[in-house]
């Protein structure tokens, strides 16, 4: 017997109520924030403010008879680790478009940065680039191979249009 999640009910702008049944305790995984809301709860009702006005946050509820949520099976993260260099002052991680992280050289040894898949994007291949700076501003850039990040996707923010001539409803992007 697994948990059964009922259709979320909109109870206000951006606000939705969820109810479920099953064998407690329950785990609730939020695919918008990509993390657990509860890892051990007997609650059977929850209200969540959504990112979108008309679409509830996708969640997965599992009861005591079930295994891991898909969000754990497909964590959608990549961990990049690099070795610190003598005379380096800082390290810059970017994705080819945006600087994601600055890490100072502290003598720790190895450093890392964890990429989270952009859950609003359907692109799964992530470019990762590391630039090392010394104290005089000299740089060395290392381009890492494109990394394929697998996560549970979310439906994009959509709306509906209707053509009365053809009585056709069409899904569109907001």
């Amino acid at each position: 017997m697994s948990a059964t999640l009922q259709t979320p009910v909109k109870i206000g702008p951006y606000l939705f109520r969820y109810e479920w049944t099953g064998t407690p305790p329950f785990r609730v995984f939020d695919y918008d924030r990509y993390q657990y809301i509860y890892t051990d709860t007997d609650l059977t009702r929850l209200e969540i403010a959504s990112r979108y006005e008309n679409q509830p946050t996708p969640i997965q509820v599992l009861d005591s008879t079930e295994g891991n949520p898909d969000g754990v099976t497909y964590p959608g993260i990549a961990r990049v680790q690099w070795r610190g260099q003598a005379h380096a002052s800082k390290y810059e991680v970017d994705n080819g478009l945006t600087i994601l992280n600055w890490t100072p050289e502290t003598g720790e040894g190895y450093y890392e940065y964890v990429f989270q898949h952009d859950l609003l994007s359907t692109i799964t291949d992530q470019l990762i680039s590391l630039t090392t700076y010394d104290s005089e501003g000299n740089t060395v850039n290392t381009q890492l191979p494109s990394t394929s990040l697998i996560s549970v996707p979310n439906m994009f923010n959509f709306n509906l249009s209707y053509d009365s001539g053809t009585t056709t409803i069409t899904v569109g992007a907001v």
Binding site: P58, E108, G109, V152, P153, L160, Y162
Partner: protein, 730 residues
Amino acid sequence: MAIAYTKGDTLGIYRTATGLTGTYNLGGRKDGREIVPNFFVGPVQIPPIVILSASGNNTTEGYLAAKSASTLSFIGTGGTEGSAVTCNARDTVLVEDTDNDLWIRVYRDTDYSTADLGGFFNLTFLPEIHGVIGGAIVTKSGSVQNHYGAVMLSNHSGLGEACSSIKAWIGTLGTQRLSGTAQLGGAGGGTITTATADGFADWPASGWCRITTNAPALREIVYYSSRTSTSLTVPADGRGRLGTSAAAGAATDSVDCVPGIRIGYEAMDSNGEIQAIASATTAPTGITWDTDITSALGLSIGTLNPRENVGLWIHREIPANVTASILMENKINLSYVVDGVTYTNVLRGNYRIKDTSLALVKLWLGVDADPDFTTAPDATAALFPSIVITPPVSGISEYRIGCKYTNEYGITSHDTGYQSIWVNSSGAQVDAPITSPVDVSLENRQAGVAILQAKYRKTLDSTPADTWRIYYRTNGTDPDPAIDTPIEILLTDSTYSFPSQFDNSMQLRYAFATQAYNTDLRVIVRMYNSDTTDESINETVTQLTINTSTQSISPIPQAFAMMKESYSGQRIGTELSTLDLGNSWRYRIFPDEFLLYTGSTVVMRSTIKEYAEGRIYVPATFSFDNVAHSAAAVSTTYLIEAVSANVAYILVGSTRRAKIDLSTNVIEAAEFDWGAGISEDIPVNAFAWGNSSATYLLQYSPIRGRFVPWLKLTSGGVLSTMFPVTQRRS
């Protein structure tokens, strides 16, 4: 000091390179970069220590610890701690587990940190992904896809020792089974089924199966697209893979789970190089490919003297119409002998297979109902699906559209909501009706009263409702808003309509007028805007059967606040009538009440004095039981037949139809309709009156100036009262 590049670390694995700018893994020369397992060091570190390489036998976890300011020890995957190794400034050392196939090579970088050794690395080892061993990411195609790459095996001995008896073979990925129950035919798709329970449970969800005869000899390698715990499903495109041909199987065949690769080796030329291929889809020439899964039958490469290399080619073959997978694994085993000791190593690499045709937005439609995501979608599209609807025959219908997105690996989103469009019978879109109330409930209260509750979320409507509309019927049929007249309650009516304490909604709490016992009450609650005359369109009926017998006559605190006298024993006042019924039973009638006694105990008291409304009191110890009586009365002198000090019957005609029993504290009748009211007027001045169909007990009403009925008992045993019944406290 344990010397680096010795023992198991004698045979190095390097990438290959061509050209000055470096095109890697397509053959050519040996590149300076080694291929080592991916690893992560964990939060605690040994800052001066750089990890240069590790045995591929470390597949999951390892532990490198500083044992002193200048010594290290290592525990490989599944191993035990080996001897401590001294590692001084700028030393490169080999640190081994007690199992010398588990090792790690490290460098003490005093240019980076001059600190003493201290701390530890909690190591996590992982195969590379999309490197030379695994190969590039695959996109499903209708054609076979080949991928070639080469690594260089190099004797980089630190002691100038030879590395002999080098062997390479394909690693297996699941437990070997006998095909047993079902085998493939000579061609086309089919299944392979093992007789071993859960025999394929540790095999990947899709992959390759190497079929061997009991000779043993290679029969065929096939690709399976899916499996159960005992069966492999092989598509037609999966037959005869990796250089084999389709051949009918036999029950005595052995099946092994293997990666979809084969390997071959190429000796170096005089420059220490091997051939270079133009691209990863170009096959190298002159290579003898091998798919064997044992060291005995695999590649026998021979001996590499110090600084000698040999190229190891890997051919990955992906069949047409392959199944998407987030993780496919390649595995190559190595063994070699150094200084008389046999060592092993493993090359592991992963890749993904994506199927762009799986990347779809899926649409489900529910008409006046939630979309059912457990069924097949009603429409799909790469981005924007559409669906043709059928307008309603009459009125308007709500078309609820739910969407989910599935990515190119077949992983589907967990969206469960929907959006709506309302369409009328002409096929025209209309504005969303006023939001229907939610959490509608009906509950029994005392004495035939039902409480109706509902919630209206006014913030969901751009033009909110201002009125509750309650459609109800009491005849067992559903209300019809088209023809029924509703009870209207303004949202501003503070008697029944309240703002919620928890959100911005409004809460209805309405008490219906008293209904007869067993009334089938059915309600539809709608929201109404008196300016626009818009009304919500919900049709959901809420039903309640009025049942206020035993359970619903629990003490009502307000009732006791109205009591002025003690209800046990005699009261003082003008007595209008009294009669001894025998066996200690009697009744007494006062201007505003009726009392039925046995001894000094008041069994029933009916009062009519408060605000012209009445109430009937019985002892708190009494309970009520639906027991039908039909025995003939022994005495019909009175309509209350007192048979003992504790037992009396109320008669209808000459038949006992209700029983009052003080020995068990029970009043019994076939049915109770407490507080249902008595519509008949009995124009007699007596405590009781009856005929063959009903008996009435009466009391004097100071309001009306004459006797009125307060209790009715029918020949069917239905006992009803004029007023609500309360159990008194003593």
